[in-house]
């Protein structure tokens, strides 16, 4: 290694190296330019705006740390929305991980017509956003919705779902299963990537189905779980559309998700500076949680080829 470094670090840098560097920048430039204009630049602007008051139509006026002080000490809706989002994530992330995994196990069976089943289970994930929210509004309607009618069939009086403070978050957790198709496909790919010889070796050692599952399948799938967990954390903290369309934060702020609260501050109250501060707080929270998952990964994620440089 050292000798190669010496050879490469000779003062006369080859024109080849320079050409290669140029070629790199050239090929990467579309992404680089896009990143600068639409991500890096706005992030910097947002950071600057979080220290100001800005309503778009008058120039921003510097206000120091006021926005951050306000949101940490003087705004109980911030804590309410964090609580709502936290509860939702606590329900939705494990439920999503487990359900997608179970579905993937089912989809991995060698049954005739399995391709059709896979399509059916994936299809809801393709339709997203507002139409899905409207659809769920009908399903969850306490008087006319099919969910409560189905429950009544077995003798249970269904709760008021979106109109009840205590059931509105479970309703959204339930709804989050709509997009289970995407993680399911990823699990499926992971399951199919598990080498058969491991199962055969386990069988030779006398492992039954359950042992095979816990000692071969799950360890091999942990990188996928890791990936889906991080995606799940990021996604569930940013939930917005269903709350915006269906409940608008109600009843009594019981479904005021953090993303919705941010949206209200930005585009209903036009407090752009405050909204930017909220956005950065969300950024750090998601970052902290993601780092938590990443740092914990050596303890439970198993990489067949050894860790190497596999971590983020």
């Amino acid at each position: 290694m050292a000798r190669i470094a010496n050879a490469r670090s000779s003062p006369r840098r080859g024109s080849l190296a320079r050409r290669e560097e140029l070629a790199f920048y050239l090929f990467a430039s579309p992404w680089l330019i896009g990143f600068i204009i639409w991500i890096a630049g706005p992030m910097v602007i947002s950071l600057l705006l979080s220290f100001a008051d800005y309503d778009i139509i008058t120039p921003p006026s510097f206000s120091g740390l006021d926005n951050y002080v306000q949101l940490l000490t003087n705004d109980d809706l911030v804590w309410q929305s964090l609580k709502v989002t936290g509860l939702y994530s606590l329900g939705a992330i494990p439920l999503g991980l487990i359900t997608a995994f179970v579905l993937a196990l089912l989809m991995n069976q060698k049954v005739r017509g399995i391709a059709g089943f896979r399509t059916i289970y994936y299809m809801p994930a393709v339709i997203a956003g507002v139409p899905v929210a409207l659809l769920w509004m009908w399903i969850l309607n306490p008087d006319f919705g099919i969910l409560n009618n189905a429950l009544a069939f077995v003798g249970i009086t269904g709760p008021k779902w979106l109109f009840s403070e205590s059931w509105v978050i479970p309703a959204f957790v339930l709804m989050s299963l709509w997009t289970i198709g995407a993680p399911m496909i990823i699990y499926l790919a992971g399951l199919q990537g598990i080498p058969q010889h491991l199962y055969e070796a386990a069988e030779l050692d006398g492992a039954g189905p359950w042992s095979k599952f816990t000692h071969v399948t799950i360890p091999m799938i942990t990188p996928i779980i890791f990936f889906n967990a991080i995606i799940g954390v990021i996604g569930s903290f940013q939930i917005f559309t269903p709350a915006y369309v269906m409940t608008n934060g109600g009843p009594a702020n019981a479904s005021l998700f953090y993303g919705l609260y941010l949206y209200n501050n930005a585009f209903r109250y036009f407090k752009m500076g405050y909204a930017s501060a909220l956005a950065w707080l969300m950024f750090f929270i998601i970052l902290a949680l993601s780092l938590l998952v990443v740092r914990s990964s050596p303890y439970w994620v198993y990489y067949e080829g050894g860790r190497g440089d596999g971590g983020i």
Partner: protein, 519 residues
């Protein structure tokens, strides 16, 4: 752990790449953001005064982003802005040549729904016919994007000439920032007659005593009732007379109970709907109470949250009607109409519905039962019964063609203009003299309620103006202060009195925040 750095000390690492991207991004930000434009920051300092004569450079400088195209329009307007009605003495010269060679187009930003767009276009066409030298380039935008579009146009340095508020945030939001044009000098120099406008709409269009908007339409609220259901229950119809003191809210509740039919534990027919079919702010108004300080019209905005006892009474009344007495539909039942099904009144399931005449065009299509319009019950305290939605036009001080915009505004709120819009669209025109003509127009459309249309016209003088006319920015006040507590009342968790007490701190905070720069 970058193995690449071991290979070549000066090679590109991920870290360096990201850092340099952010650095370049920051440089771009610094380069693109203009220094704070002197003109806009000076504007709030003269909120009640006439607009400044913006030099040609102010408009581009006001752009938060490097917007090159608006400067062309602004530059074209520059020579003529010197003739802007900046002071009364300049008026005669400006108005002497109303069709002055001001080539800049008048750009009204109009809320549009499929139904109203044609009427607006016809009105604009009439104006163009009478004023061929003024170009009008209307921008139509759906109601739910109206606020954003307005702000974006202003931020780009190209404010609309004429503005037509469409939601909670009315023209006062811009008045508080000194962006609206004070119409008093224009009214004075033209000797413009304001006497025919409904007084409350006119008062709501003022800011600190100055006229900063002119009302165009009044959406009165009446009591729609299902004649067929009344006949079936052998009950007398509700009265047409707004001053009928026997038609009280207690009587309303009794009538509602008699008209509620339950089958199998669930109501199949409701006696009475909630005001406007919504569980919100308006519920507090029906018994004559007022949520804020009475002298708000002096400044133009409410500064204190001090609900009358009648507000709590009204709120409790409606919550009980919905929860305890089950005469009113639940939120769930109404949600079906939100998601696209016809509303309960149209389906014949609601006997009485206190609602806006905005529903007239829809109800005109009802064929399965007979319906009528009546007066709201008489509260024990007067003067007003409930809200009325007043639409107004206002002008931005930095509009490209102030004389043309003023001529256009005058036309749209004139008797001739209002005969086209809003006469046939639905709401009552803001000119009192047009009341009878409105009745006549809708008699032809809805012969069955021909003799009851006067109820709507008679309602206008009795009703309050709605939040956009007395707050700077109602959304945060309502969303954070009022609505969550009202939700709790309708959920049965709080009494109305307790809810109002709970509302006060947040409402006060939001009033203070939204009116920070106003005085």
């Amino acid at each position: 752990m970058d193995s690449s750095s071991q290979l070549h000390p000066r090679s590109i690492t991920r870290r360096r790449l990201l850092a340099s991207s952010f650095a370049v991004g920051s440089l771009l930000v610094a380069a693109c953001s203009q220094p704070a434009a002197p003109a806009p920051t000076a504007a709030p300092a003269q909120s009640a005064a006439a607009p400044t004569k913006p030099p040609a450079t102010a408009a581009p400088a006001a752009a938060a982003a490097p917007a090159a195209t608006p400067t062309a329009a602004a530059a074209a307007a520059a020579p003529t802005t010197a003739a802007a009605p900046a002071s009364p003495t300049a008026q005669p010269t400006a108005q002497a040549a109303p069709q002055a060679a001001n080539g800049a187009p008048v750009v009204p930003l109009l809320r549009s729904s499929a139904n109203e767009i044609q009427f607006l276009k016809d009105d604009i066409a009439l104006f163009q016919k009478n004023n061929p030298s003024i170009t009008v380039n209307p921008v139509f935008v759906p109601g739910n994007q109206y606020n954003q579009k307005t702000d974006l146009m202003i931020a780009a340095g190209n404010p609309p000439s004429l503005w037509f508020p469409a939601s909670d945030r009315g023209f006062k939001y811009y008045s508080a920032k000194g962006l609206n044009m004070d119409l008093d000098p224009l009214i004075k120099s033209d000797n413009y007659d304001l006497s025919d406008f409904y007084p409350r709409g006119l008062k709501g269009s003022q800011w600190k005593g100055h006229q900063e908007a002119l009302p165009i339409s009044e959406w009165a609220w009446v009591l729609f009732y299902n004649k067929t259901l009344f006949d079936n229950a052998k009950l007398p119809y509700p009265p047409q007379d707004w001053k009928d003191a026997t038609w009280t809210w207690d009587k309303y509740l009794e009538t509602a109970k008699a008209l509620t039919v339950t089958a199998g534990g669930r109501a199949t027919q409701f006696g009475a709907g909630l005001p406007g079919d919504s569980r919100d702010f308006f519920s507090g108004w029906t018994h004559g109470g007022w949520w804020f300080n009475q002298d708000w019209a002096d400044s133009g905005w409410v500064s204190k949250f001090q609900p009358d006892p009648a507000v709590a009474e009204a709120l409790q009344y409606w919550a009980d009607a919905a929860n305890k007495l089950n005469v009113a539909p639940t939120a769930a039942a109404e949600q079906s109409s939100m998601a696209g099904a016809p509303d309960l009144f149209m389906s014949g399931k609601l006997a009485m519905s206190p609602n806006s005449i905005g529903n007239l065009a829809q109800y005109a299509q009802i064929t399965s039962f007979e319906w009528g319009m009546a007066a709201w019950p008489h509260p024990t305290t007067l003067p007003a019964h409930c809200g009325i939605w007043v639409d107004e036009y206002s002008m931005f001080a930095k509009a490209a063609n102030p004389e043309g915009s003023w001529a256009f505004m005058k036309h749209m709120v004139s008797v001739d203009g209002e005969k086209i819009y809003p006469m046939s669209y639905g709401p009552i025109p803001s000119h009192q003299s047009l009341g009878q003509q409105w009745i006549q127009t809708w008699k032809d459309k809805m012969p069955k309620v021909a003799d009851q249309l006067s109820v709507a016209v008679n309602a206008v003088p009795l009703q309050f103006v709605t939040p956009d006319n007395f707050t700077v920015n109602f959304s945060p006040i309502n969303d954070e202060g009022i609505q969550p507590q009202i939700d709790k009342v309708y959920l049965g968790q709080l009494t109305a009195t307790a809810a109002i007490t709970a509302m006060k701190p947040k409402v006060d905070q939001q009033i203070a925040e939204t009116t920070k720069g106003a005085s």
